[in-house]
């Protein structure tokens, strides 16, 4: 059964096309992992689900997202309604400037629960589900900001669940956490999947393997592949998925030659890359560094069209990207 149906979804930031015509279904009460290199639009996709993207200046979305019988992107749909049906666990925990208790009670209070006894029950229930109750039961009134980062993340989970959503969206929920806290969050998510549909964005293929039932691979704003986790992760149909998974496994591929094409525009960087590849023997690996956004998309596409293997594309920092190509022909 599909829970979220996405049809022809496109998203733009100004004239940057961040998501290109995505059509996919997200299954109910399973964990779906969205994987893909940095900047490929994973966070953007989540922000479309709960319409947080409305808050970004200059962002536009087209297409359809259907959750149950709700048309999420329709202007007439009440956005607070959309959001209370989807909890969000952010990359960096963001407790509200209030006590632990008030953080969890925040959502229920907004949605009309006033009775003290009822709120007490809710807070206890969801702190238990979040796996935080035992650690904070004696200091519910102390500021949430005093908790450790790992505890704050579990608080954010409890706070999101207290609104009683159907869907939990997680954007790299463990990337700011230490290994123990990460494991804690992963265990909670595995327990929660009996009752919730969970969508998790992750950079970590191992995490996707541990958690996911279903995998969606995005690459530079395009949907490359989706399907059951074991198929996509172990036996991808698409060359680009294989390249991505290999790329994240081989933390550092040893390049036979490395050229820096920073400051070059398209199509020159493509031409230079072609020349460099031409000089190499078959099977050798070429590493390119580019900073032109168009090159990030077009160079790998062109190389694949030329029959070469794109091993990985990774963002190194704010501007620079590393493209690794194996010469095939």
């Amino acid at each position: 059964m599909s829970h979220i149906t996405i049809q022809n979804l496109s998203a733009f930031y100004g004239d940057h096309h961040a998501l290109r015509d995505i059509t996919v279904e997200i299954p109910e009460k399973l964990i779906t992992a969205i994987i893909g290199p940095s900047g490929c639009g994973k966070s953007t996709l989540l922000k479309c689900f709960n319409r947080l993207i409305d808050l970004t200046d200059g962002a536009r979305v087209s297409g359809k997202i259907i959750v149950g019988n709700m048309d999420v992107l329709n202007g007439g749909t009440d956005v607070t309604d959309v959001r209370r049906r989807m909890g969000l666990l952010p990359q960096k925990p963001n407790p509200l400037p209030m006590s632990i208790y008030d953080n969890v009670a925040y959502g229920p209070r907004l949605h009309g629960v006033k009775e003290k006894k009822k709120l007490d029950e809710i807070v206890e229930k969801y702190l238990k589900i979040g796996g935080l109750w035992d650690e904070v039961r004696d200091r519910l009134k102390s500021p949430a900001s005093k908790l450790s980062i790992g505890q704050q993340q579990r608080l954010c989970l409890a706070r999101g669940l207290a609104v009683e959503p159907e869907i939990i969206l997680c954007d790299e929920p463990t990337s700011a956490l230490d290994p123990v806290s990460s494991q804690h969050i992963e265990q909670q998510l595995l327990k929660l999947k009996n009752d919730y549909t969970i969508v998790i964005v992750t950079h970590n293929i191992h995490q996707a393997m541990r958690l996911a039932d279903y995998v969606i691979h995005l690459y530079l704003g395009e949907l490359v592949e989706h399907g059951p986790a074991n198929e996509v992760l172990e036996n991808p149909k698409e060359e680009r998925t294989r390249a991505y998974i290999n790329g994240t496994f081989l933390a550092d591929v040893k390049a036979d030659q490395e050229i820096n094409l920073k400051g070059n525009m398209c199509p020159y960087n493509f031409v230079y890359a072609k020349q460099a590849l031409h000089a190499l023997e078959k099977g050798k690996i070429l590493k390119l560094i580019v900073d032109d956004p168009t090159a990030v998309t077009e160079v790998p596409r062109g190389m694949e069209a030329g029959g070469h293997e794109v091993v990985s594309v990774r963002q190194q920092n704010k501007t620079d990207w590393e493209i690794i190509i194996r010469k095939k022909s």
């Binding site: 808050l55 200046d57 959001r83 209370r84 500021p143 900001s145 999101g160």
Partner: protein, 282 residues
């Protein structure tokens, strides 16, 4: 210049500027205390001026103390009621990015730098036009207008600093813009809001020029909003203008009273806001 002497130079600069700040504050306070403390007496703060007070006979400045408190708190409350919603609506969630917001900020900045005598003259003309005479109400209104730019701009600056992910957290839990603003933004920005209030309170209670024509002056306690009212800055001004040393000393004593009121309010409000501040996200 090598790193070490650079470091030393910078340190010397910092110490020098701190010395200027602390030093000038110290001199002002010392002059006021030195000249005013001997003249300060219980009767001075519990009595209104009797006949011949300004010639050095008995009486006190209770009329000015009470008048200033009425003026300052009246205008503070009014200005706060206008400034907080105004500053909040200048967030980018509301009108912050529009052309209108740009012009609002620009005019507030111009108003901030406008001398207070201009406010006084402006208020006076309006009051003449309306047939009002100098009164507590007139003074409160002009002081309110005087405080608006300070309050709104200083509050807006701290409200802008509220981290975007706090607002996002609130939005993702299904809060509306209003709920997010009232429950999260105000809480997080509270210390800065309090600072803005103290700043403009200081300007309001210390200003003489704007209330000279609009609030007037009287030796009796204010009885209604429509009667003229005395104020500490004007009391200081009048007493300092007399040729009698004992009355001039009373001017310093009045300044000391003013200083103590401002100090008391800032300490009290900071202590109060500390209790609400423990939850703030840093």
């Amino acid at each position: 210049m090598d790193k070490l002497s650079e470091e030393k130079l910078f340190k010397a600069l910092m110490i020098a500027s701190l010395a200027v700040v602390v030093g000038s504050l110290f001199v002002v306070v010392a002059v006021i205390v030195w000249n005013g403390a001997p003249a300060l007496s219980l009767s001075m703060i519990t009595q209104t001026p009797k006949g011949g007070y300004y010639l050095g006979k008995e009486g006190g400045i209770l009329n000015a103390i009470v008048g200033s408190l009425y003026l300052a708190f009246g205008s503070l409350i009014l200005a706060l009621m206008i400034s907080l919603p105004a500053a909040l609506s200048l967030q980018k969630d509301y009108i912050g990015k529009t052309k209108a917001a740009y012009y609002i900020r620009l005019s507030l900045d111009v108003l901030w730098g406008t001398p207070s005598i201009v406010y006084g003259a402006f208020g006076f003309i309006i009051m003449l036009y309306l047939g009002m005479r100098a009164s507590l109400l007139g003074g409160i209104i002009v002081l309110t207008i005087l405080q608006l730019p300070i309050m709104i701009r200083s509050m807006e600056e701290v409200i802008k600093m509220v981290p975007a992910d706090l607002k996002e957290a609130s939005y993702t839990l299904g809060a509306t813009r209003f709920e997010t603003t009232a429950l999260v933004v105000v809480k997080q920005a509270l210390p800065g809001i309090v600072t803005g209030v103290i700043l403009s309170f200081g300007r309001g209670i210390g200003d003489a020029a704007s209330i000279l024509f609009t609030a007037g002056y009287t030796d009796s306690l204010p009885r209604s909003l429509f009667d003229p009212v005395a104020s500490l800055p004007l009391a200081i001004f009048f007493q300092l203008g007399t040729p009698f040393p004992e009355v001039q000393a009373r001017a310093y004593a009045s300044a000391l009273v003013l200083l103590i009121i401002v100090l008391a309010l800032s300490i009290a409000s900071r202590a109060l806001s500390k209790r609400f501040m423990k939850n703030i996200i840093r």
